[in-house]
Amino acid sequence: MSQSNNDILLAISTPPFWHCGRTIRQNSLHTLLALAPAAALSLIQWGVPAARVMALSMVAAIVTEAVCQILMKQKLSQDNGTAAVTGLALAFLLPASAPWWLTLIAAVCAMGVGRMAFGGYGANQVNAALVGWALVFVSFPIPMDPNAAVLHTSLADPLFRAKFFGGAAAADFPLADLLLGRQLGGLGATQTGALFLGGLYLALRGVIRWEIPCAFLAGTFLVASAFHLADPELYAGPLFHIFSGSTVFAAFFLATEDSCCPHRRLPMTLYGLTGGALVMLIRVFGVYADGAPFAVMLINLLAPMFALIRSHPFGTGPRKAKRTSDNEGRARS
């Protein structure tokens, strides 16, 4: 036995030699798994057109990443699955009726401008899928508007109704319908119930940090409640706002993109709360019916500011800072 030991080639490595086992690829696979129920429900609801948009978006994202990496002389990294996740997240925001060229432009811009221009996965400051979405949303408003573009459907856009017919119109949409995705909007982002479960799975797995979605939804809930209490006729209730449009999708899947959010607890909470509040402010005062994607882009840009909030490193705080540490403890508990 020792003879064989003498012939073997040992691997030299650096500490730590144990690892949590979590890798970029695993995180991507978990994210795809979490998105799967929403994708399945979306396929049941929209059929082949949805499948077409999702497949095209994912393929275009992967190919764009590969082409950019070849041009930038980087190692190809399609096997880590991050491009597929971005492609799918982008497809979830597009209407099922999106024509092929629209999907293609969105996906190419998401990967090219949104991610690779910054250097690759993890270097972008704003969620890549949102960059692609925002570009086509602003440039081609008609094909991007589900109310105008999706014709063969009896579903209505709850946010559109709430914005232009007042909060009372929200009563047309029972919560169960919203949760099961019986609403008009992005093809996958409106499957709020399935996305909520998927997001919960990711948080339990530790792939995303629970503070961000919690704070995001809390922010939406608080501001929506404030408006609703001020004038129930004009403004819909908090649960309506959370489960309509892409709020849940933004909270669990968009705002949590690791490179675009702060990582300490208090900054994450503030980041989420700001995002949730912005969703409501854009929905109420903005020109767009659904404010969630834009809210996420705005807080992505604010993330470095939030990240400046940090406690004193170990043992360097001022000696009298008894109260600071108390506050910290409270923020953590």
């Binding site: 144990w18 979590r22 004193h312």
Partner: protein
């Protein structure tokens, strides 16, 4: 529910396993390799010299580093800049009187030496007193397992209580610390008379000295408090009980599926240990000395268990995701969340990666306690801890050089 949301949910990070296994004596070595870096060889000790267990081989110039003794009967086969090799010989086969006489046991407890005299007596018996004899108001004996995977601390508190008691007595006689505390894992009922015990939650990284001090005192980096590991305490206790020079060390040997605690001779070759345990390796396996989070990987099987080593582990190929070249940081922030000292390993590792060591100063690189959690959680498999160590090393070197006075050219008119 709590553990589901946590980044680190590895049960191995719990430092108490409630699985008591007796200490096993290691194999009688056929060959030992002793580290002699920094030591000065004793005159007369050279190649082909016969040595007995306890024969003094080399002395360390520092007053708090223990001297080097031979652990076995044997013959010195090689002395190079870093190591001394001793091949084992059977004393019965050699002619009588060929081997130097065994050293006389020195009963430190009875002799009644105190203070500096005792420190120098202990040094002569091969025990490092740098941390044991730390001058501090409070000295905390860290009775937690130093790292996940290392498991001798728990049984040692029970089985080797005599050693620990003897060491605590000697430590008191050093007269360097005003108070000595014993930090034990929560729920552990072991107590020593005259020593106040403090219970500490036995979860890594609480066993890292800096963090242990925080757990015990409730204060981060309080002045005048120091900690010393149980491994070192055991060494001194062993010497106090036997009166002979220190030639053994306690280690946990662990693989993915099994583990055991051993008392092995200093300088035992890892190849012989693996053979003794019938552990066969595969290509691509990693063997490491020290703990799984802070240790060092060995390149060859004729490396040895050095005096301070507290573990020896085998990590099989494929057990952890491989490190693939120089992967870039993806800003996931896991290291920031995991870091117990609240510094930013993400930026520190990047500064070191691109050679911007000066930037590390802003990020409090000195506060790193070397726990290794940043690398443990890194999803990009970057050697984060190694990057930080590199920066620390570089900056210390830079500061050392800056402290030197440049030589003036001589004889320049």
């Amino acid at each position: 529910m709590k553990q589901y949301f946590q980044l680190i949910k590895d049960p191995r990070f719990r430092l108490v396993q409630n699985d008591h296994r007796p200490f096993i004596d290691g194999p009688a070595p056929r060959r030992v390799r002793l580290n002699r870096e920094g030591f000065a060889m004793v005159p007369g000790v050279k190649k082909k010299t016969l040595v007995s267990p306890g024969t003094l081989l080399a002395e360390h110039p520092s007053p708090d580093k223990g001297d080097l003794h031979s652990p076995i009967y044997g013959v010195i086969t090689e002395i190079n800049a870093r190591s001394v090799f001793v091949d084992a010989m059977d004393p019965a086969e050699a002619e009588p009187g060929a081997f130097p006489p065994l050293p006389e046991p020195a009963d430190l407890l009875r002799q009644g030496l105190e203070g500096e005299e005792l420190v120098s007596a202990v040094k002569k018996l091969g025990v490092n007193t740098r941390s044991l004899g730390r001058r501090a108001k409070t000295l905390i004996v860290n009775a937690l397992n130093p790292e996940p995977g290392v498991r001798w601390a728990e049984p040692m508190l029970v089985e080797h209580a005599d050693e620990i008691r003897a060491c605590l007595e000697l430590q008191r006689r050093f007269r360097r610390a005003d108070e000595i505390l014993l930090a034990v894992p929560t729920g552990c009922s072991v107590r020593f008379s005259g020593i106040r015990a403090v219970e500490v939650e036995p979860v890594y990284p609480n066993s890292v000295n800096e963090l242990l001090i925080k757990e015990v005192t409730g204060e981060e980096a309080p002045p005048d408090v120091a900690a010393v590991g149980l491994h070192n305490v055991w060494s001194l206790g062993r010497v106090a009980l036997t009166g002979l020079p220190l030639t053994e060390t306690v280690i946990t040997i662990g693989t993915a599926s099994n583990w055991a605690n051993f008392v092995v001779k200093n300088g035992s070759l890892v190849g012989e240990l693996l053979e003794f345990l019938h552990i066969s390796l595969q290509n691509g396996d990693t063997i490491l000395r020290g703990g799984p989070l802070r240790g060092e990987s060995l390149d060859r099987l004729d490396r040895s268990i050095t005096k301070g080593a507290y573990g020896f582990f085998v990590v099989n190929a494929g057990e952890v995701p491989p490190i693939e070249g120089d992967s870039a940081c993806v800003n996931c922030g896991a290291c920031i969340v995991a870091c117990p000292t609240r510094i930013d390993p993400r930026m520190l590792s990047r500064y070191a990666e691109f050679g911007k060591y000066n930037m590390s100063r802003k990020e409090n690189f000195r506060l790193c306690v070397d726990c290794g959690l940043c690398g443990y959680v890194c999803i990009a498999r970057r050697p984060v801890l190694q990057y930080i160590r590199l920066a620390v090393k570089r900056l210390e070197e830079e500061e050392r050089l800056a402290g030197l006075t440049p030589l003036e050219p001589v004889g320049k008119a």
